[in-house]
Amino acid sequence: MSSIKQVINDAVEKGEAVFELVEISSASMRLSFDQVRQPNPIRLRDLIRQIRSAKTAAEERAVVNRECAYIRLTFREEDSVWRCRNVAKLLYIHMLGYPAHFGQMECLKLIASPRFTDKRIGYLGAMLLLDERQDVHLLITNSLKNDLNSSTQFVQGLALCTLGAIASPEMSRDLAGEVERLLKSSNAYIRKKAAVCALRIICRVPELMEMYLPATRSLLSEKNHGVLITGVTLITEMCRQSPDMLAHFKKIVPNLVRILKNLIMAGYSPEHDVQGVSDPFLQVKILKLLRILGCGDSEASETMNDILAQVATNTESSKNVGNAILYETVLSIMDIKSESGLRVLAINILGRFLLNADKNIRYVALNTLLRVVHADNSAVQRHRSTILECLKDADISIRRRAMELCFALINGNNIRTMMKELLTFLEKAEPEFKASCSSKCVLAAEKYSPNVRWHIDTLLKVVEAAGNHVPDDVVSSTIQLISETRTEQAYAVGELWRHLSIAQMEYQPMIQVATWCIGEFGDLLLSGHADVTVVESELIDIYQKILWSSQCSITTKEYALTSLMKLSARLTHEIGSIQQVVSAFGSHLNIELQQRGIEYSQLFTRHNHMRGPLLERMPPFEGTRAGTEQDKATITNGVDTPLDNESLLNDLTSPNNNAHETSESNALLDLLGGMEPGDSDTIKSTSTSISLTVASTPSVNADILDLLGGLDSGPAASVPTTNMNEAPPTQLPNSSNAAYLLDGLLNNSTPIISSPSSPVTNSAGTIPTSNSIYPLVLQKSSIPGITAYDKNGIRLDMAFELQETLITINLIASNNTGAQVTDFLFQAAVPKVPLRMRIKLSWLANGSPVQDQGEISNFPSALWQ
C-alpha cells in the first residue's frame, strides 16, 4: 500500500498531469488518497466528474467558479509543479464556454518549461486560447524558435504543429526560415509537419512562396505517405494561389500519375489500408492536384486521361471510400479537358451514384450533376427519370438539389412531363422552395410551352399550387398572358371562375388573378362562352365574400373592387347591388379602398355617361414578360410599382384613343402631370380614354410620359412584370405633392439601354414597343448627354433627344466595379418644374447590398426650352 502510494507520489512530484497513470488504484486506494486533505489540485478527471455530476446549471457554475478561483490563486503563486494540471483543467473549463483568458500567460510559461508534458499542454493551450490579435501571441515566437531548433523530434513536431495552427503574418515571417530548414530534415516525421506548417505560412504570407519552392521538388519522391500527403497539399495550395507556380508545377504531372498508379497497383499495405483501398486519402489529394494542373491545359489533361480512366474503372464502389475516390475522379474529369468518352464515363458514374441507397452519395451526385449540366446537357438527360424520382425523396437537401437540376434539364421535348412532376413537387414543397420553384416554373413555361392553352393552364396551376408564396411577377405574368391571347380568354376565365368559387380566401395570388380576369372578361363568362353557367348574382356573392373577408389582403380587395366596377359595365341586372357594394367602401377604414369606393361611386352618379366606355376591355399589354429575352444572365426584376401605377403605365401605352374631348384628356394629363396619388387612381380607371396627346401639354408632362413610355417599352423583363406589392408609391421625402414615382428596370452588370421610346403621339396610336435589346449605340443628338450618377462603381449616362416638345431619355447603366452586380433597381421621380430628377438606386455587389439616392439636376437647359 505504501509503495503504491510512493509510486503515485513520485509521479505526482514529477509534475505529470496524471492522465495516463495506469489505473492501478483500486477503489480503496483512491478513497484513501482522496480522504487525505490534499494540498494538490484535483485531477482533470475529477473535475470533469464533479462538473458532470452537477445537477443544475447553477451547481455547475459554482463548481467551475470555485475551481477557477483556485486556479487563479495557484497561478499567482507561480507554482510550477501543478501548473500543467491546472492549465489542463482550465482548457476544459474553457471548452465548456467559461472565460479562461487569465490562463494565457500560464500557457506561455508552460511552453517555456523544459518538461515535455508541460510544453504539450502549453502549446495546446496556446492553440485554443490565443489568437493573433492578442499581444501574448508574439511572445510565443521566441519559444517556438527555440523549440524548432530543439534536438528532440517530438518537441520540434510540437512546435511545428502549433505554428501551423496559429501562425500570424509576423510570426510566419520570423520563422519561415526555420520551417524551410526543417523541410529538408532527414526525419520524415519532421518533414511531414514542416510541410503543413509551410502551407499555413504561405496562406498567411503569400510572398514567402518562392522560399519553399526548391524544397517541394523532393517532397514528391517520398516513400512516406504522410510526407506525400502534406507535400501534395502544399503544392496544391501553391498552385491555387499563384498562376506562375501552376505553370511551374505542370511538369510534375507524370510524377503524380506514377504515384497514383503505384497506389492502385500495389498490393495490400496494412498501415494504409482503409476498407480494402490503399490510402484513399492520398489518392484523393493527388486527384485534386491533377484537377488543378489539368484545368484548361490540354497537354496535361492528355497525360492524365489514362490514369483517370483506370481509377474510375478499378475502384470498388461498394465501399464508401471507393465512392469518395470516384467522386473526386469525376470532379477531375469534368474540370480538365478530357476526351468525350471519359466524360461520358464520369456522368455514368454519377448516374450510378444517383441510384445508390446512401443519401450522402446521392446528394453528392446531384450536386456534381448540377455543375456539369450546362456543359453536357445531353449526357445528363439520360438520367432524367432518376432525378425526377429524387424530387420525391424524404431528405430535404436532396429534394432541393433535384429541383434545381430539373429546371436545368427542361427543354422543348420534355417540358410536359417535367412540368407535371414539378407541379406536384410544388404543391408539397416547403415555403422556402415554393417561391423560387414557382418563378422558375413560370420562366420555363415561358420558354418552352408547346401551346398557349398549356401555358395558361400551367400558370394557373403554379399560382394555385404555390399558395401565398408566389412571387409577384408570376401574378402579373399570368395576367398579361391571358390578356394577350384573345382566343383563350374565355377558357381562362372559365377556369378561374371554377377556382374562385371553391377557393380558400387565404391564397391571395389566385384570387387576384381570378378577380382581374373575371372583371375583364366577365361578359364571356356570363354569355356562356366559357363552358360554365354563371348567374350574375353568384358573381356578386363571390365578390362580396372576397371584399368582406378578413383573410383577404388589402391588395386583393383593391383588385376585387376595381374588377367589380368593370363588371358593372358588363352585367345587366345587378348594377344596383354593385353600386351599393362600391359605395359602402366609401367609408372603409383603409384610405386606398375608401378613395376607390368614393371615386367609383362618382362614376355611378356624376359621370354615369362615362362609365361604359371607361370600363371597356383593356387592350393587351405591350410589354414583355420575364424570361422572353434573357436566357443567359439571370435577371432579377426589382420593380416596385404599386398596383395602380402598374396599370397606369399600361394604360398609357394603350394605343387607342377614343373619341373623347381633348379637354377631358388634357384634364387627365394635367392630373398626370400633377401626379397626386389620388389622381393615379382616377386615371387608372380611365384606361382607354387617355389620348396620348402631348402636343399641347407642357414639356414636363412630356418628360414624364416619355419616361413612362420609354421605360415601358423597355427591354426584356421590364414593366409588365411588375411586382404587385403593397408598397405605396415611394414618395421621396421632400417632394411631397408633385413627385410621381416611375420605375425603370435596369438589369445585371452588363450595360444595357432602355430602348429609345418613340415619341408618344396622338392619333397614330401605337407606341412601337421594342422587344429586343438595342446595341449599345447612342443616337447622335444635339443636346449633350450627361453623366447622371457615377459612384460606387455604377455609372449612369443619359442621352437626350428632343423632338418638338417630346424628350426622349436614354439611360445606360454600366458596372465598373469588376464584381458581379445583381438585383439592380433604378427608381426615379420627376417633380413638375424645374426639370430635375430624384433617383434612388440599389443593387447587390457580390452579395452585399448597396443603396444610394440622389438628385440629378444637371439636365441640359436645352431640354426645357
Partner: protein, 144 residues
C-alpha cells in the same frame, strides 16, 4: 480545409471541440449550439451533409457520440466522412476500446491524437499506426 471538429452527446451537450481556425471564444458557443441542433435534427438515414453559412457540415454518429466537422465547400465531403471514421479508428486503437466515457475523461488525449492527424485543418497522416506512434512512445517514456 476543415474549420472545426466537435463531439456532442445525444442531448446536445458539447463534449469536445477543436478549432483549426481561430474563432473568438464568445462566438463559439452560439455557433456550436446552432450546429449541434442542426445535426441533431437530421433523421437517421438522411443525408449527412448540411450547410451552415459558407461551411459544409459533415456529421456522423458513433454510438452515443455525434462527431461534426465543418469544412469549406471545396472539400470532398465523402472524404471527410471517411476521415471521421479514421479518427475514431485511431482513438479506438489508442484506448484499446473506445467509448463515450473515454471521450469524457480523456479530452487532452483526443486533442493530441487529432493534432497528429490534422494540422491547421489539413490532413497530415492517414495511417493510424504512424499517427499513434509518437504519442505511444511519449506515454511509455513519461510513465517510467
Amino acid at each position: 480545409m476543415m474549420h472545426y471538429l466537435l463531439i456532442a452527446s445525444k442531448s446536445g451537450n458539447i463534449q469536445f471541440s477543436h478549432y483549426f481556425t481561430y474563432i473568438t471564444p464568445s462566438s463559439r458557443t452560439p455557433i456550436e449550439a446552432r450546429v449541434i441542433t442542426k445535426c441533431l435534427g437530421a433523421e437517421k438515414d438522411a443525408c449527412h451533409f448540411l450547410e451552415d453559412g459558407d461551411h459544409t457540415l459533415i456529421f456522423r454518429w458513433f454510438g452515443p457520440c455525434l462527431f461534426i466537422v465543418a469544412a469549406d465547400h471545396t472539400e470532398n465531403e465523402i472524404m471527410i466522412y471517411e476521415f471521421l471514421s479514421l479518427y475514431v479508428g485511431a482513438l479506438h486503437r489508442y484506448f484499446g476500446k473506445f467509448s463515450e466515457r473515454h471521450v469524457l475523461l480523456n479530452i487532452d488525449r483526443l486533442h493530441m491524437v487529432l493534432e497528429e492527424m490534422v494540422v491547421g485543418g489539413e490532413l497530415v497522416e492517414s495511417s493510424i499506426r504512424n499517427a499513434l506512434t509518437p504519442i505511444q512512445v511519449l506515454d511509455t517514456v513519461s510513465s517510467r
